[in-house]
Symmetry: D2
Subunit: 349 residues, 4 copies
């Protein structure tokens, strides 16, 4: 029973097979492999973006940080949610890659940035001229760190505010596939058609070993991205093994199928939890994560059986009244089985 | 016929199999996988270094840059050969990771730093006090970028000079295995026993998909390394797939066997070239690369047949007298076959 | 009538004279001038800190940023008030000098950090291990940006919390003299005896042309500070002209006398404003700044006569009901005259 | 007898007076003072550059580093002479301000970059594509660190090579006035008409307390410069005191007169030295510095009398044969008197 994170799950078998297939003979290194040509074409097709520049890196932190560094100057700020991965979980990688930009943290329910709060934050930036940092970039996470999703209309509302001030827009799509299949819209509708300039298009949490694509809808930034990627140590010599993973991911809509499985698992898990007395959701379940609370005694039993998940927030104790609810984060991955979920539900009942 | 670089070759089948085997069930992310525990133990055993801190990253540039950043301050300089990878082929990654250190470039035959030149460079550093950059770290490449190797005694001679001034020592061992099997010494003799503090222990050029270990013989630097790795975006969530590659590499001395194959291929190739009229070696062949020159007409024929390799230096033209020699770099990998070599030799004759 | 900032005022005549006096013959550059020897001794005496390292720079931003860079690593965070100069008015200079540290912003009344909020912020730092930034330094501003002061006991309460977690403590003392004369304590009591490790000891806002001392009560950081100062371009060749200013400042307690004048001016101004109908203070007046509100019509008249000061917050309009109060910041300097204050008070009545 | 550096000399009396005059009443801070308006106009007039952006900082290192940072990206390189101040005497400040650019060091006689060597260095940059750093900026020092000058034609020859590759050009003019009065050309001819984009226009070594102007002939870079200046802590609040120095400098050609005095002193000194037996110049005397060698016994006598200057190179010993020549650097400033020179000459004879 593993719900600690979607990155604990396995890779899809199709991906392992693709790696094995790619391991034949020689291949030009550093992204000049023919598989990458096909990946680039396929991503442009999927995103209806024939001019987009497309690159692969191996971690989400690299994808986010290098992408953001192409959008902001060191003396500018990045607007993001207080709980965004770039703020909370990357050990300052954005500051490192941008050369010391600030992050302006925005509070909002369910991991989402409220338009009026963004507007205020932007309007306050630069009020003291050269003495303060300047308007930089907007970064949205979709699906969010709270397991919710922005609709295309919501994305658009935020990017419209940003772009009125000339602020470019980044999306951390580590769980982009989970958001997309929930929304039922097209990749284009959720990104460039809604004002996104650079997308970190996640694969690792959704069945790859370790590949994220960075899609620059504005190809003018391509050469800068390439230099920043190399300088960051993120240009792979045996690049074909990244390409092969991404090709398998995109073939026959595997990426969407994997995301659907993870989302369905989360739905099943949430449904089961809500049947418990005094249980409740702390965020709506819109992707592959469940944020919920239930009685302490259920937590005790789960953790005695070594079920893996996090209290959310962390600092809640197993000691205390049996029936007092404790809130938790449970993340499903594409391979989370109904059996695993049902065993967990049985435990916490 | 591919001699452009050892990074164009395939991964060893044992490595692909290990990845597939690692893909079962869940695993704790970020290096907490049990395979990594075994890898750490094995590397400590191989290097006779029970206290060493051991980490995995996916590229040589990351290994070198993060390691060096743990050894130098931004206002210090790194002594390295003018042709070192960290100077010539990493787009300034060391400067990026260190926060702007200088690299003091040292000239020397066959890619090797002469002790007296190092001594002079160190003695000149800091002569103007606070106005100049300060003594930082020494970085040696073994095998070198010219396909030669430093013996343990040669390494020791250089590190002794450095350490007399309190200068820590890094080794870029992207081709460490190739050096080691040529020398016939132990890993310990070529590293910490010879004064090396941090080793980039290469795997990618020698049969892995993309894994380098960083071995910190001084474990006091471990936590700083971990933070710098994370901040650089080089901490893998599905880390087990790095661990699995490295475990396969170290099992049954696979890493040494692969390096021997590549070195033997280079020997065969060099021997064949030297049989050509007016051919000569431009550097001794001591690892898996051949630096040699032969008549222009031989180059013409090879390149008509799409043989892949680089003129070295780059700017030599195929146009000119038939018999004039052109120098080139030819790199063999573990999978370079005798047949491939012999066909190439036939072409250039 | 100039209340826009204390940096708009003149230098003290004694300081100009000292510069003229220093301009005789040659002097060793870069801080090796004999005046600096006397300054160092004097500061050590004033602060009862015989081992402190003492350096001069020309701007408060340089003093703060270089000092902080000696205390934090790039992957750590600096705890400061949301309105601290280092956050709000230095265009990201701390991020630049530290190599990309974060600033953790703390809210609190009257520009002061509440102990319990600091404790919580510290305890939350590092909860996600290597994934988040680490505990770095505490930075207090005294007098604060809201014109209030921390007492030695208040400083000590905060530094005690920090030091329990090994966190070093910096004080931005751009208006240190104003705080000190209000409190009536000794310089030592307000700094190292209260747990401060590095002090930016301001002179520019209090009668110098442009000099701030940085006092490192821990002299182990001295050489690093010197290198960072040089590397930042803040080591002056004709350093004697900085030394001369600081010497004049410290002679015959000029610095305290100037600060008293500025504080007295603020008191007189505040007293006058409070006599107006519907006027009130928005922060207590404890240094040389008055934060107060009074009727809009008074603002209109003042600004018609070109009185210089800022609405605080900035975005309040002169258009609106006559009697509605608008809040403002008025800063006095050592040369602010009673006449100037009284004319201003007459205007706004 | 002080020939250690021109920065050991006093400020011109006119400059001290200007500071005293500027110290009246209040002035808007941060460069909004009316004196700065006049300085800007005057510099534009002197340089025949009505659109130039003009800023003041207090040190040459700041002027050079911030200017260069506006011209190069972190992944690019700056071409400069091996002995350039930015390489040898700024403790890596260019690397700090640019975010880690490299400096490509060019050797050449008498501190000057030979055109053919520059051309070769540029042509080699970028040969390995994304793997190496890219073409950045050219930085020339005029007068050079060897006391020689580039003519407008020589500057133009170098900038023409650079600009053929789109490389912008910076001039470190810490001793610009000394070069100019020697050459007898106009400021425009030696700068923008010869291809210079940004000039560090020195004042400190030539009679100011500490002011350098940065002149951006391309005003599009102005806002970036302002932000980088602030972020580096080099924006002065009481800016009028920088403005006043520069205004005095430019009034009645004071700057040219001071430079002429220093150059004349160097000429007198060189002439005297050359009259000694076995003395010789190690570089031509074209500005205010003399690089010469004379018998060891003369050095001994001078240093017994505490004459200040540097052996050049540093590592020559006073112990050895009496008549063996030792080479030295002697720098004159505007206040170096004939008497001082003659006493020195008498000593070393």
């Amino acid at each position: 029973m593993f719900f600690a994170s979607d990155n604990g799950g396995p890779a899809a078998p199709e991906v392992i097979e693709a790696i094995a297939r790619a391991n034949e003979g020689v291949a030009m290194p550093y992204g000049a492999d023919p598989i990458m040509d096909r990946v680039r074409d396929k991503i442009r097709e999927v995103f209806e973006a024939p001019d987009a520049a497309v690159y692969l890196v191996a971690t989400g932190t690299a994808a986010n940080s290098i992408g953001l560094a192409c959008l902001v100057q060191p003396w500018q700020t990045v607007y993001c949610h207080r709980h965004a991965h770039i703020e909370a979980d990357e050990c300052g990688a954005p500051e490192f890659y941008t050369g010391g930009s600030k992050l302006t943290l925005i509070d909002g329910e369910d991991g989402k940035i409220p338009p009026e709060v963004l507007r205020k934050a932007i309007s306050e930036t630069g009020a003291v001229g050269v003495h303060g940092v300047q308007k930089g970039a907007l970064s949205l996470t979709n699906a969010t760190e709270s397991g919710t999703v922005y609709t295309p209309a919501e994305v658009s509302a935020l990017t419209t505010i940003a772009k009125a001030d000339g602020i470019p827009c980044h999306m951390d799509g580590a769980r982009f596939a989970n958001a997309l299949v929930r929304l039922g819209c097209t990749p284009a509708e959720l990104t460039w058609k809604a004002g996104i300039d650079i997308l970190s298009f996640g694969g690792t949490k959704n069945g790859l070993l370790g590949v994220e694509a960075v899609i620059l809808f504005d190809p003018d930034l391509a050469w800068e991205f390439e230099l920043r990627r190399k300088r960051g140590g993120h240009l792979f010599s045996k690049h074909r093994f990244l390409s092969a993973q991404m090709e398998a991911y995109l073939t026959d809509d595997l990426w969407l199928e994997l995301a659907r499985k993870a989302n369905n698992a989360a739905d099943r898990l949430a449904k089961g939890i809500l049947e418990l007395p005094s249980a409740s959701l702390t965020h709506p379940v819109e992707a592959n994560a469940v944020f919920a609370s239930w009685a302490r005694k259920g937590h005790r039993k789960a953790q005695e059986q070594d079920a893996k998940y996090y209290h959310w927030p962390f600092d809640q104790s197993l000691e205390g009244p049996d029936d007092e609810p404790i809130s938790a984060r449970l993340v499903c991955n594409w391979a989370t089985s109904n059996d695993e979920i049902d065993r967990f539900l049985a435990l916490i009942s």
